[in-house]
Symmetry: C2
Subunit: 368 residues, 2 copies
């Protein structure tokens, strides 16, 4: 194959594939980073890879000349993002890749596709899962990973069970665990950086994908669907699976059933009164939960939210952790299970859907 | 009047007045800063003042006990912003101002209203102008002021003419001048920091105000309308009015009539090719304007946009200045008047509405 191509392609899917390649790979490499365009038969395949991840996207194209070329992925994404023409004609002209619409020509410097290295071989198929449930699970769980702590806590643990794929993340102050339906062919047992997993899962949402194929080996996790796929490297760190399992064994002293949205709104209203570390207190008893914020400087707040309660309790939390966890349940009804002391409070949906989600939030130590 | 009040008030206008007081005054003073609540008859007046500005807002209220109290303006705004109850009951309870809905009570520490100093006397009425035209003029002109340069160039010059109120701002690379209809009673001749003027003008938009009363003396500009008002201090700096006037005397070598939105979109598409300082070239001739970006590293772009042209010219600009100025005209048709050398290019609307707006953009020196 020579460094020459000529093809016509619909702008929207081409722009989407270019944007994905640009977004998934780390920005620090973006200026230098290239994207391969391989055209053959009736298809254009974009592919790009970095140390942490590889991504590809397939777009139907009318191909005049087969070949493989490479251009900068930031430049390609930026050029295609703002076009309003419905299709573009693309071909090599000298040392540039020319992209034409009816009234415009954009010419990107060609890179040497060989310099990008070989496209990595994706890991084998491990199983399949419904894309919507998977995307929801990643969105809910990735938020509980730490943004700036130890690398271990910046990851999402992904493991396959008999018929569920389980995702978990913790920053030690809260823990989120979700599981989704799983038809497995091989095991999944990896720890994926939360940010890149969240970005990869967002790709499934547009256009809507029904089912995602999960690829895995000992060091990598991949997702593949009709339009393309991604492969991400696992963090090579031992995860505290046993501790996580112990935390999930909840022995409640009080159980409360409440509308997640109403409780979240009340916690938000308490936040201006929650003092420097944002302490919000929940007091559950007799068909109501009282949400309090109190701080000498800021004043105090007290709000009642209707709830079904069994037992009674008072516990304080960093309000932002409560907000994050309640947001993950939208306007569903949730069940809060309070334990004694500083053992975590569990939050689950009252009616479980395909994404089984559980959030654990560690309460603040009580002042003496 | 004692430090005691009791009243019931609709939440939405109360929250709006509190948000305005909080937003207009500088954030550095926000924690310490208080807002006065004066209730009498059927009205609640919120007022707050800092070194640069004063703001007030009037809200109809059902008053049980007249009086004046003060609380933190950030705290009041944050509390009211998130309430979903349609009205609130407010009264002094001990050292707190209690704000109650059906299910919640929020208690803010009272401040000493005397410690906030006296509410400043607003300047006298100088004239009246349509609020919509004024808001549009401020939005377009304030963007041309400098964000981080000399204080002189961070201001909007506001002066009254016989039947127009003129606003102008420049950062020396571009100049925006707008004028709006004016029924004057006294002169306006001030220089107002662009950021605070833009914030004040935004207040007029919600709920929509038909006419704004302009207040002015030698050192201050005020805006007043049914729901409230603001007063802002003038910068005490001599403005280069004569130079500004000279810049407005345009002798075009080429005149071009083009759709602002189409030209803006083409300039945006050229930006990825515009190199490190974002150089975009316009080449006008024979019923078309060619928009070019070119940079050795980034490649090049060429796009044609239909235009009516008289004469021909080629000029280069920092693309972001072109974008700012074209955005100010939305999807109107605009007339560009190109001058020779590095004399500024003038942009005006083809059909003038009540806000007469003119943008001048200085081209880049041609490379030899």
């Amino acid at each position: 194959m020579e460094s020459t191509v000529e093809f016509t392609v619909a702008t929207a899917p081409f722009a989407r594939a270019a944007a994905r390649a640009d977004r998934l790979l780390p920005p620090r490499a973006a200026r230098a980073g290239g994207v391969r365009l391989a055209v053959a038969g009736r298809q254009l395949r974009l592919s790009a890879s970095g140390e942490e991840a590889a991504v590809w996207g397939d777009v139907p194209a009318t191909v005049n000349t087969d070949g493989v070329v490479a251009v900068g992925r930031r430049a390609l994404a930026a050029t295609l993002a703002s076009l309003d023409a419905s299709e573009v004609r693309v071909r090599v002209e000298g040392s540039r890749l020319a992209i034409r619409t009816g009234s415009a020509r954009f010419a990107l410097p060609l890179l040497d596709p060989a310099a990008l290295g070989p496209a990595p071989e994706p890991p084998p198929v491990a199983g399949r899962t419904p894309a919507g449930a998977f995307t929801a699970a990643v969105a809910a769980v990735a938020g509980a990973a730490s943004r700036d702590g130890l690398p271990l806590f910046s990851g999402v643990r992904v493991r396959s069970d008999a018929d569920r794929l389980r995702l978990a993340a913790t920053d030690r102050f809260r823990l989120a665990v979700a599981s989704v339906p799983w038809s497995g062919e091989g095991p999944v047992d990896v720890l994926i950086p939360a940010g890149i997993l969240a970005e990869a899962a967002r790709m499934l949402a547009k256009p809507e994908t029904a089912e995602v194929t999960v690829l895995a080996d000992a060091d990598r996790l991949g997702l593949s669907w009709a339009e393309g796929g991604v492969v991400v490297s696992s963090l090579a760190l031992p995860y505290p699976d046993a501790q996580l399992e112990r935390m999930l064994g909840v022995r409640p002293e009080c159980v409360m059933d409440v509308d997640a949205d109403l409780l979240r709104a009340a916690v938000e209203r308490a936040m201006p009164f929650a003092g420097p570390i944002g302490t919000v207190t929940l007091e559950a008893a007799d068909g109501v939960v009282v949400v309090r914020g109190s701080d000498d400087g800021a004043g105090d707040s007290r709000e009642e939210v209707k709830a079904q309660t069994t037992g009674s309790t008072t516990a304080s939390y960093q309000g932002r952790y409560l907000l994050d966890s309640l947001r993950a349940f939208g306007d569903d009804r949730v069940v809060l299970r309070f334990q004694t002391g500083i053992q975590p409070t569990s939050i689950t949906a009252a009616d479980t859907d395909r994404t089984e989600l559980r959030y654990l939030v560690v309460p603040l130590r009580k002042s003496p």
